[in-house]
Symmetry: C2
Subunit: 401 residues, 2 copies
């Protein structure tokens, strides 16, 4: 396990982010959703606390918490008063290492997972983007962590125990802490809590790729939801920030191209956006637009044209805006112990080190319109995946099929 810390004496708060290599790509065949159910079950009692005592003790610390299950990792986050850090870490050591996984609560846990799955059916934009990810990335990299109703129904307490035993383990685990704390004391505490955590053997993976470039999901509505994706470079790639800046020109501020062309000039939709999402080994740009059925074809065509137009390069004034936005957001991030702990953990996971803020600033400063355009020449937006959700399919723009 890796421990990262960024103590800052001016903070009265402290936060930590814990990543464990227990994401949904480790779900065994026919057991999709197991990573999510296991995460849900770990909070139902751990160490010498039953579920009630565990939740009460965490709440009594006033800790704001959150869990999420990604493709590769499960992420546990907590933030609160600096004094709450040590006792919260003690409880989280139990959650990770000694959860009770009570068999008599498996049905309640399963119901929560099924309710979440069914809830997505009622959120068309969520459903669409989930399908776009599934269609764009080869399996298991695009799988939704919630699994499927049929597979979740069949999961057993034994499955949960086996998954926990195999994947909640120190190899690949990262604990990152930021805010008001003393480094030496935290090192001692983490030593005591985690030094004897041992790794089990790991199993092998065999992902079968199967991808469709165009998918339509029939859905009764007067709205149509459009998703477009294309490959980009992952976070540890030398050109990552060139790719990231090119997407910043597409989407982000109100002067960004998609906002200007799709929303402001044509009023085609209320929401349009693009974001570069990087897993460790792969990365893609995902675009979303939601609009009425009558305007859906035009929205798709205009959005697609804007993506293609990136190949003609970006302008200096677009880059200036983007850099101002990035500088602002770096400063705001520095002023939050919670976002700092998340950055530390994700840097380590994706780079194998923490990138200091000064280095990041220097990288941003060095980006030029020329450097972005050179990148876009070598790796233009192409090989799109298109998913639409609405009453009727749309006509695919030339080049997507």
């Amino acid at each position: 396990m890796v421990l990262l810390g960024e103590p800052n004496p001016s903070f009265q708060s402290a936060a930590f982010t814990m990543l464990a290599p227990a994401g949904c790509r480790h779900d065994p065949a026919g057991k999709a959703g197991l990573a999510s159910l296991t995460c849900e079950m770990t909070l139902r009692g751990a160490g010498d606390r039953d579920g009630r005592a565990l939740i009460n003790d965490l709440d009594a610390l006033g800790v704001d918490r959150g869990e999420s299950v990604g493709v590769s990792q499960v992420s546990l986050r907590a933030s609160g008063m600096a004094e709450a850090l040590a006792p919260a870490l003690e409880i989280y050591a139990d959650i990770l290492r000694r959860p009770l996984l009570p068999a008599d609560q498996i049905e309640a846990g399963r119901m929560v997972c099924l309710q979440e799955l069914r809830g997505i059916e009622d959120e068309p934009s969520h459903k669409l983007m989930q399908e776009l990810r599934r269609q764009h990335y080869p399996s298991p990299w695009g799988l939704p962590s919630q699994g499927e109703i049929d597979t979740v129904k069949r999961l057993t307490p034994h499955d949960v125990e086996a998954f926990h035993g195999r994947h909640y383990q120190p190899g690949g685990a990262i604990l990152a802490i930021a805010g008001g704390f003393e480094w030496e004391r935290i090192v001692d505490l983490v030593q005591r809590l985690f030094a004897d955590w041992e790794a089990p053997d790991e199993g092998a993976q065999a992902p079968p790729p199967e991808i469709a470039p165009v998918t339509h999901i029939p859905y009764e509505s007067n709205q149509c939801h459009i998703g477009l994706a294309y490959d980009s470079v992952p976070y540890d790639h030398d050109d990552y920030f060139q790719a990231w800046a090119s997407v910043g020109v597409l989407s982000g501020g109100m002067s960004s191209r998609l906002f200007t062309e799709v929303r402001e000039k044509r009023g085609l939709c209320y929401t349009v956006s693009a974001s570069l999402q990087s897993q460790k080994e792969r990365s893609a740009v995902f675009c979303y637009a939601g609009t009425t059925c009558e305007r859906a074809q035009e929205t798709l065509d205009v959005t697609h044209a804007e993506l293609l137009k990136l190949r003609d390069g970006i302008k200096q004034n677009e880059l200036d805006c983007l850099k101002a936005r990035i500088k602002s957001s770096l400063i705001l991030q520095q002023e939050s112990s919670s976002s700092r702990s998340g950055s530390l953990a994700h840097d380590w996971y994706r780079l194998g080190r923490v990138r200091p803020v000064d280095e990041l600033s220097a990288i941003i400063d060095a980006i030029t319109a020329e450097s972005i355009n050179k990148f876009l020449e070598g790796q233009p937006p192409e090989n799109f995946t298109l998913v639409t959700l609405g009453p009727e399919p749309l006509e695919s723009p030339v080049g997507i099929s």
Copy 2:
């Protein structure tokens, strides 16, 4: 206009929140949605900048912005690097006082408003809570700011100009600034930008109350969404924090009653929550639960029973958890210039003064299980408004009809 400031030299960021008395309750009869369209149009050019220049200049400052139209107020927020504060304020003075409201962009602005309205049709939980607010508060206090498709279609450039002239005005406007800035310099700047802002005459209001205790919205889905509301006391009431604490016991942490009874023990749904929402003159608790149709009746019954059970009072350990949570969140809020500027503005609007954090801490410290229970005895949850959205209506619990 009121200017509030909380300079903090340890911040590199700064943020402001501007409230202007131009919310949707000022929409004239037959013109619902005018406040929203006007807000959308103010950003399409102001002072000597056309729409493009205005957006570019704001983006070039790297400012993160947001606008929202409430019942009484329109709220404009911006945050970024401390150096961006003064130039951003200059632009916002133009937006508020000298927007171009270009007639040739009214159709694009209208389309954006219509797209937002139609988008809500596809988000059942949003649609439900909007209807619950409309049914619970007498008109115009529960009106959705987006208006209605028919009325938005009829709005003219003249309507927008008239609304701006009448409601974007200094009487009732509040500008609150927090983060890294010097108070004297900001006072000088704000003087220069706003000292000669004059108030027009204000019109009268005649809200006709019409409320139904139970409403069902037919919606084809295998999900059912449930909303329940009951009256509470507004922010400036002596008992506000007693009411707020009682809702904190219902919803918030994982040990809260609704989470425990509805989600954890019975697995009835993925999301269940209650929140105390206070306008200036009135306030209510709004509860939401989304679940599958088969479990909807049980979810409603259990949720309603938990609300009624508040009358039996709360326990000391529930209060302890709640207090820890509140303390944490106060500290986290102190560390964000953006949330501070929002708190300053809303305190002034609702209290006529800013409540110092120390005073707030003292109020929280003084809350006891007895003080909450005394409040609940005098003002128990009752006179519920129920709205459901799904394929079939549910049976109303005893006492709601």
